[in-house]
Amino acid sequence: MSKKIGKYLLLALFFFILTIFFLALKNDPRYISNDLIGKKIQNFKFKKLNGNNENLSHNDINKTTLINFWASWCYPCRLEHKYLIKLKQNTNVKIIGINYKDDQENAQSFLQEFLNPYDLIGVDNDGVESVKFGIFGIPETFIVNGDKIILKKFIGPLNQKNYQEIINIINK
């Protein structure tokens, strides 16, 4: 009898672990991140690049804002950079960059070379805050309105089509 119970317990444990692993796969932030759309930003807290222990917070989002997660080591970030520059030049959207798991020196020289489209830059050295915020990989870009509500999220490098979409959202 006790052996049978043992067997069933083992079976139950196996399926429990399996379910957890399965759910963990589903938990992939890339799949749940759409839930972020329409939500209000709350836990947005990043150290400022070169700031003396100053922090960025959700209060910095006071008008339509683009939040862009990037790093100097990220090749696709280079590809999308020109669209960020164009947005800066052609619109009055506020752009906040979050420098993700990067070497600060590399980040600086990246901005010197490709120009700096950002109004504010936050730093996330270990990537924890970014993951908490809901990003999975970089680059990722969010459009947030003045009420701090996320309107849209772009996964991967921005392209011409995304650029147009962003312009449309800003002009609305």
């Binding site: 692993f21 590399n106 600086q108």
Partner: protein
């Protein structure tokens, strides 16, 4: 025909041949006549399968060497400016290529197993081949459908994206294939265990047919882990060699089971008992290898070894893993017969079993630590990471009795043992305590736990050495492989213990011409030079390190490298090693100013850590050669 078509054709042909092997094996097993001779057809098919799959791997390799950017995996992981050595290692430095290597190892091992097991029963060999080919089929299907290394990209890019510079290191290039041979190699005794259960081929004969494979995979696994640590130490620039990262854990878990397995095999060989336990270990090794692969490749765990993550991959491996576990458990339970164990408590068998208990304990600890974050994430939506304090506080205390048993165990007799020479043990213990005291006198104070670890490792070393001297004196035939491995393990723990307790680390800023003094050291920043490498430029600093107590002087040359294609910086440590210590120095520039941030470390006994790991391996290699004779 281009490379992609050729490669796809080769993979598809391998898939077909695998299917043929499965069908033929089932046909042979179902035939009413008793099978006496192993069918030649299966050997030929297996050889054919091996040839074709090696061909597919080489065509990918050629794709990397000639930089054929029409292949997506080459485009994503290579670059024309990369040195040829790293073009080659790029083949397995990505998910798709490594899966192809994985399948190759399974196929090659299947063929070698069939050819080398001529003395074993035919039915057992066919069942084993069948089981292995079902596994191969599963992975091939995965490769073909989801992770095809020969996927095309159009239009063909002119240049590749390049390999991450920190991955351009010889130790890194070598360690993945070593590990693959280790834990993918374990698939063959997974299959053999299934074959043994289904054909009722048990006991000593079974032990004999798999022990070479267990030993081979264990040697490669040990080497792989060692080279992985060497890479982490020399290249990552963190000054450590083991971080309890999920991927490191994924390689360590099968290692624990392999170690337990070849110790249990000794008992199965000598006493014809523990058969079912050996079977469980055989099944567990490969199951853990696949579990590790699932954890790493699906991206549900974060680690320094990030492969481009893809949840569909994870789902496939998870389904495959579940089928593997369920099927093997059903086969096991259906064939399980209760075994009687009558071990005398003081006997060699018990000592060997105690090795298994410890290994299982370590396995459990590492497994829980590795998967725990997944559970908290799913159940409580809480992201945590389990760090070294957890592992250290659980594993280290239990190393102490483990080392003692490891010293005493090998001298015990089979069936019934008696301790006659208590006095020897006491003397050796006294020597170890005395040596420990001199170590803490020379280096400085340490905690009680560290003292105990060092005493027990010294005990293992001296006990094994004295044993060796006695055996040579009495001219008894002895097991040199075991002595070397156990000695190596003793030295490994001893050097890690000393290294852990007496490392010195300093972090400060300097300008060229400045100097800094602390403890016993004086560091002078002499100059800076620009250098040009094959595919990078570098800033090389020159530092003079003076040690006041022995007035020795060393020059160290740390580098900051700027890679041409990715414009990425890496900080190369400069390391001076001698027998008793490593001096380790990295520098990084602060905001493009004249100031440089300097990290200086003194790490005692680093060389001993590598040497003793290699020693553990050598024991295995000697054992393998002895068996071949």
């Amino acid at each position: 025909m281009n490379l992609s078509n050729f490669g796809n054709l080769a993979i598809f042909s391998t898939l077909l041949i695998t299917l043929f092997i499965i069908i033929y094996s089932i046909k042979f097993l179902n035939s009413k006549d008793e099978i006496l001779l192993f069918p030649n057809k299966l050997i030929m098919l297996s050889l054919f399968q091996t040839t074709i799959s090696i061909t597919s791997f080489f065509s990918l390799l050629i794709g990397f060497i000639i930089s054929d950017f029409s292949l997506l995996s080459v485009y994503q992981n290579s670059h024309t400016l990369k040195p040829i050595f790293y073009k080659i290692s790029g083949t397995w430095g990505n998910h798709e290529g490594s899966m192809l290597l994985w399948i190759n190892i399974m196929i090659i091992f299947a063929y070698l197993f069939i050819v080398n097991s001529r003395n074993a029963e035919t039915k057992y060999r066919i069942f084993s081949l069948l089981a292995q080919n079902v596994l191969i089929f599963g992975f091939l299907f995965f490769l073909f459908a989801n992770s095809n290394p020969f996927s095309l990209i159009f239009p063909i890019p002119k240049e590749g994206l390049g390999l991450n510079p920190i991955l351009q290191d010889p130790a890194l290039a070598i360690h993945p294939p070593l590990l693959y041979v280790g834990f993918v190699g374990s698939s063959i005794y997974f299959s053999a265990a299934i074959g043994s259960l289904l054909s009722n081929y048990k006991g000593k004969a079974f032990a004999n047919s798999i022990k070479v494979w267990v030993m081979t995979s264990w040697i490669f696994q040990t080497l792989g882990i060692t080279f992985g640590s060497i890479w982490a130490y020399y290249e990552l620039g963190w000054g450590g060699f083991w971080f309890w990262d999920p991927v490191e854990n994924a390689s360590l878990m099968p290692w624990f089971v392999m170690t337990a397995l070849f110790h249990s095999l000794l008992v199965l060989e000598k006493r014809e008992t523990l058969y079912y336990w050996v079977i469980i270990l055989c099944l567990l090794t490969f199951t853990l290898s696949v579990t590790g692969t699932f954890l790493v490749r699906s991206g549900i765990l974060n680690s320094v070894h990030t492969f481009a993550n893809d949840p569909s991959r994870g789902l496939y491996i998870l389904i495959f893993l579940s089928i593997m576990i369920i099927t093997s458990t059903i086969i096991f339970l259906n064939n399980f017969r209760r075994e009687k164990y009558n071990f005398f408590i003081n006997s060699k068998e018990t000592f060997i079993l105690s090795n298994n208990w410890f290994m299982m304990f370590y396995l459990g600890t590492v497994l829980i630590g590795t998967v725990y974050p997944i559970f908290t994430e799913v159940l409580n939506n809480l992201s945590i990471s389990v760090g070294p304090p957890y592992y250290n506080s659980i594993i280290i205390p239990l190393l102490i009795p483990f080392l003692f048993l490891m010293a005493i165990g090998p001298q015990a007799k089979w069936i019934k043992n008696e301790f006659k020479k208590y006095i020897n043990i006491i003397i050796i213990l006294a020597i170890s305590i005395f040596a420990n005291l001199s170590i803490s006198y020379l280096f400085g104070k340490m905690t009680v736990l560290s003292n105990l670890i060092i005493i027990s490792s010294l005990f293992l070393i001296s006990y094994t050495l004295i044993d060796l001297v006695n055996l040579i004196k009495r001219k008894i035939k002895f097991n040199i492989a075991r002595i070397i491995s156990h000695l190596g393990f003793g030295f490994l723990i001893l050097s890690i213990g000393i290294n852990y307790n007496f490392s010195l680390e300093k972090d400060f800023n300097l300008k060229v011409g400045d100097q800094k003094s602390f403890d016993d050291f004086n560091i002078r920043f002499i100059s800076i030079n620009l250098n040009e490498g094959a595919n990078y430029k570098s800033i090389v600093g020159k530092f003079k390190i003076t040690e006041n107590s022995n007035l020795s002087e060393e020059n160290l040359y740390p580098e900051i490298r700027i890679y041409n294609n990715s414009e990425m910086l890496t900080h190369e440590a400069s390391i001076k090693s001698d027998l008793v210590k490593d001096l380790y120095l990295t520098m990084s520039n602060i905001n493009r100013s004249d100031l440089y941030n300097i990290k200086f470390q003194k790490k005692p006994f680093m060389i001993f850590i590598w040497v003793s790991s290699i020693m553990i391996c050598c024991g295995g290699i000697i054992r393998l050669i002895e068996k071949k004779k």
